[in-house]
């Protein structure tokens, strides 16, 4: 495996710093919301992780298309990295939403359209790894993964749009709400914490994807060595 690039080391340090700043802005800098109290602060991480979660699923679909066209295994590694990192972040999103829902809606979970589509999206990508494990042939596995992420990628825009298309109790943060929906309003300081959170999670996402791609290269190398030794 190649030595760690300097840029990746810088990105590691930047990720730790921006995560620290994002936490400070969310927990200390942003004012306490008057109706919900302190629990509203989980919203900054909830949105940040949701953003990179859904972004990664869309990126994986694009990487899947690129693999099907080029048959280059680098696209497969990129796709796996995007799905894995996004699945972790999207899991955090769902649990944070549930923690927020308990005092806000008086329940941990409800089968609201947004919550349902988010749960389905997460399950689709957990199944992706289980199914990949069951295919031995690397080429077949990559082709299957590419088609799967291409189809699974449809769930990301559906999850994003569902609160704008159906009647739901989930608040809308970005864009306009209709008469039946709750629109979340933010003060100036809340907006700073919110947008910095998005930026911080984007940096962390890129850093983790890069690490996961390098891990994928090492996995491939070990797989090839095993084949050579067993021959």
């Amino acid at each position: 495996m190649q030595n760690k690039p300097v840029l990746l080391t810088i990105l590691d340090a930047a990720s730790i710093i921006v995560l620290g700043i994002a936490t400070y802005l969310a927990l200390v800098f942003a004012p306490t919301e008057a109706v919900m109290g302190q629990v509203q602060r989980v919203f900054y991480f909830h949105i940040g992780t949701a953003w990179v979660g859904l972004l990664g699923f869309v990126i994986a679909a694009v990487a899947g298309v690129a693999y099907l066209i080029t048959k280059d295994s680098r696209w497969d590694r990129f796709e796996v990295a995007a799905v894995e990192v996004s699945t972790v972040f999207f899991f955090i999103t769902i649990v944070l939403g549930s923690i927020w829902a308990r005092p806000a809606w008086n329940t941990w979970w409800t089968w609201d359209p947004r919550l349902t589509t988010a749960a389905i999206t997460e399950l689709i990508y957990i199944a992706y790894f289980m199914l990949r494990k069951g295919i031995e042939d690397p080429e077949k596995r990559a082709r299957f993964g590419a088609v799967y992420t291409l189809l699974g990628g449809i769930s990301a825009p559906i999850t994003f749009m569902v609160i704008r298309l159906f009647r739901t109790i989930h608040p809308i943060v970005i864009g306009s709400a209709n008469a039946n929906q709750e629109k979340m309003s933010m003060t100036g300081d809340m907006k700073i914490a919110f947008f910095f959170g998005l930026f911080a999670f984007t940096v962390i996402f890129i850093d983790l994807i890069w690490h996961r791609i390098r891990l994928g290269s090492l996995e491939e190398k070990v797989e090839q060595l095993k084949l050579k030794v067993s021959m």
Binding site: M1, T23, L27, T32, E33, A34, V35, M36, G37, Q38, V39, Q40, R41, V42, F45, H46, T49, V88, F91, I92, V95, L96, I99, W100, R102, P103, L208, H211, R212, R214, L215, L218, E219, K221, V222, L225, K226, K228, V229
Partner: protein, 62 residues
């Protein structure tokens, strides 16, 4: 007159942030572990390959 007070939901907030950091920490640690294991596997396999190559190239004794 009714006075509305902000509810104390700090326990939920703490739980949310602790959960986020624990999950991110576990993920980073799992990546570190997988990387270390794969590096060890690669080294072992490379030494095996080198041994096999050495055996194949050395003349057979009668």
């Amino acid at each position: 007159m009714l006075l509305e007070t902000t509810p104390d939901t700090s326990g939920y907030m703490i739980a949310g942030y602790v959960f986020s950091f624990v999950v991110m920490g576990i993920y980073v640690f799992s990546m570190y572990l997988r990387n270390a294991n794969l590096k060890r596997d690669a080294e072992t396999l490379e030494s095996l390959q080198a041994e096999e190559a050495k055996k194949a190239s050395s003349p057979k004794k009668k």
